[in-house]
Symmetry: C2
Subunit: 345 residues, 2 copies
């Protein structure tokens, strides 16, 4: 009818004709159908012809005929953030081992965009969609997401979440709260007394959980509440700005906990720029244990999350056949004390 493209692309029909077999046989020879054998000599002839013509099946057409595609959709907040690129890396490893492709979409931390991307992946008939960005503390957004995912599953798709288990969907739960609590406990043991928390925006549950978990941890071991809590952007520059704010306050903490490593690095830079030293003047701790950041000086105390593995778990999970109850896999971070928080005295 239309075909505006200048495409003289080779199709399965061309292969079949050139090999002197029917379309059906060519298809079966190339993909090995379950119900029917193709005589070896015919199969060979088809395969050779296909290779000779550089035949590449049209994935869209296959998807239409089969009803599903070979792509996994991944939704992240910001792919330039090493947290997400590590997860992507794991997702790609998992996908690769199943012969799948991964399509990435980023939300810029907007719940609306997240929803749009999920809808778009539904349109793409993605085999599965993985939502790796932290949930938002916004019940309306969650409701919308729930509805969208219901549609997706009705259409035969699958979904999995990372971080918070808020909907009846397969989830890899990162125990941000408990992990931050352990960190707080260990830091108190090291002798720290006056804490500040450098948090991200409240609507991001990951930030909230880490900050609150940390404070809970302080209380649990009888340490006082933080002397300061700054809220800033969930980025290096946010960490920088928040730290400037914290250092400007009259009573300076002896340790600042930033809710992620990227912010912690910003905080350390701010400290240096104010003429102070980490950890002599203020100690700093982060969260995530981002690989690229392991060589900052002083080495950062943090909570290690197996980010690449998380990506792989998510793929495995979302590729399993559905079960009655949603699966939940809990991952606890491992506290890693380094030189940015030496024992006091």
């Amino acid at each position: 009818m239309m075909r505006s493209q200048s495409s003289d692309n080779v199709t399965l029909k061309d292969v079949a004709n050139a090999a002197g077999v029917s379309l059906a046989t060519a298809s079966r020879a190339i993909n090995g159908s379950p119900d029917r054998q193709v005589r070896p000599d015919l199969r060979m002839r088809v395969l050779e012809t296909a290779a000779r013509l550089h035949y590449q099946p049209n994935a869209q057409a296959q998807a239409m005929a089969r009803g599903w595609t070979d792509v996994i959709g991944l939704v992240v907040h910001d792919i330039a953030d090493p947290y997400f690129s590590s997860i992507l890396s794991g997702v790609m490893q998992g996908a690769e081992s199943h012969g799948l492709l991964v399509t990435v979409a980023s939300t810029g931390r907007s719940a609306t965009k997240e929803l749009q991307h999920v809808a778009s992946f539904r349109g793409q008939r993605a085999r599965a969609v993985i939502l790796a960005g932290s949930r938002f503390d916004d019940s309306e957004a969650i409701e919308g997401l729930h509805a969208e995912i219901a549609q997706l599953e009705r259409a035969g798709g699958r979904a999995a979440f990372l971080s918070q288990h808020l909907l009846p969907i397969d989830t890899v739960v990162v125990e941000n709260r408990a992990s931050a609590q352990s960190l707080a406990r260990q830091l108190v043991e090291l002798g720290y007394k006056r804490f500040a928390v450098l948090a991200g925006p409240d609507r991001l549950m990951t930030s909230k959980d880490r900050a609150e978990g940390f404070m809970d941890g302080l209380l649990a071991v009888g340490a006082g509440p933080p002397v300061a809590v700054a809220k800033a952007d969930f980025s290096r520059d946010g960490g920088y700005d928040g730290m400037v704010e914290i250092l400007a306050s009259p009573d300076r903490p002896d340790l600042v906990f930033a809710v992620n490593d990227v912010m912690a690095v910003g905080a350390m830079a701010a400290t240096r720029d104010q003429g102070l030293t980490v950890p002599q003047d203020v100690a700093v701790a982060g969260f995530d244990d981002i690989v690229t950041l392991r060589d900052v000086t002083p080495p950062l105390t943090t909570v290690r999350l197996p980010l690449v593995d998380l990506g792989r778990y998510l793929v495995e999970m979302v590729l399993q056949p559905r079960e009655d109850a949603p699966r939940v896999r809990r991952v606890r971070g491992e506290v890693i004390i380094r030189e940015s928080t030496p024992p006091i005295r």
Copy 2:
């Protein structure tokens, strides 16, 4: 015929029926066809029905009918490397502004896999494919890639390269050689005399160009050739190992140039672990100016590449209509001297 999936998904036909119009009209109402107007009241009715039913067009079916998709394929060597995730970030920005999706594939620095991924994107009928990984110094691989891309273009697809301009294809050329040369020159001016080069594997042209450019630069200003050249993996750990090797040699350089920042950071770590200090005992310089690495201490002298912008340029380029001659856009890095290479004396 089959439809094994339990899909009771809503299709355009459902929308048309529910709205009491024909399939054709529903299609035109939703996508606004070029040749025919739809009466406003009908359009409204269709649009409302579609929204009410949560209709999401099947992208595969649209792709089949239209002959092209809304996805851009991006091929990188290793997405966990911040070099590539920055580029991906730019590509995603560019794609987003055109309403496109991006699918990522990674090669693990294998030419064979690169070729497979391009073929796979051809099968996906990707609107365009961007090859962001450095070319390999392997004429056979290049030949294969050329053939594959010819097929891709015959099928109506488009392709663009980053880094080296080796094939008659739109390319964003990174002037690795010239930039490394400038770096060498400036370093000599700072007073350095005894250089070592920490290179990646030879078969990666990016590594080769940077290393050779640097050496050319040394010669051009009358400095002697490097006292050592180590070849190592193109990663943080590669940088570490290569540095250990360099430091073990009897005559120690006063400056080590690592062909990328990630290796440079590994090199600095190795230096520290040997009980030496940067820059007092050895100065270190890198290449790329990776954002996440800007806060290492001492701050790294490097060559800044606008990585995110490169991603955007590539998208713009590959979305332009074809021209007779392939477009080439050259990008020169900017030398940034920081404290890892202070002036000597």
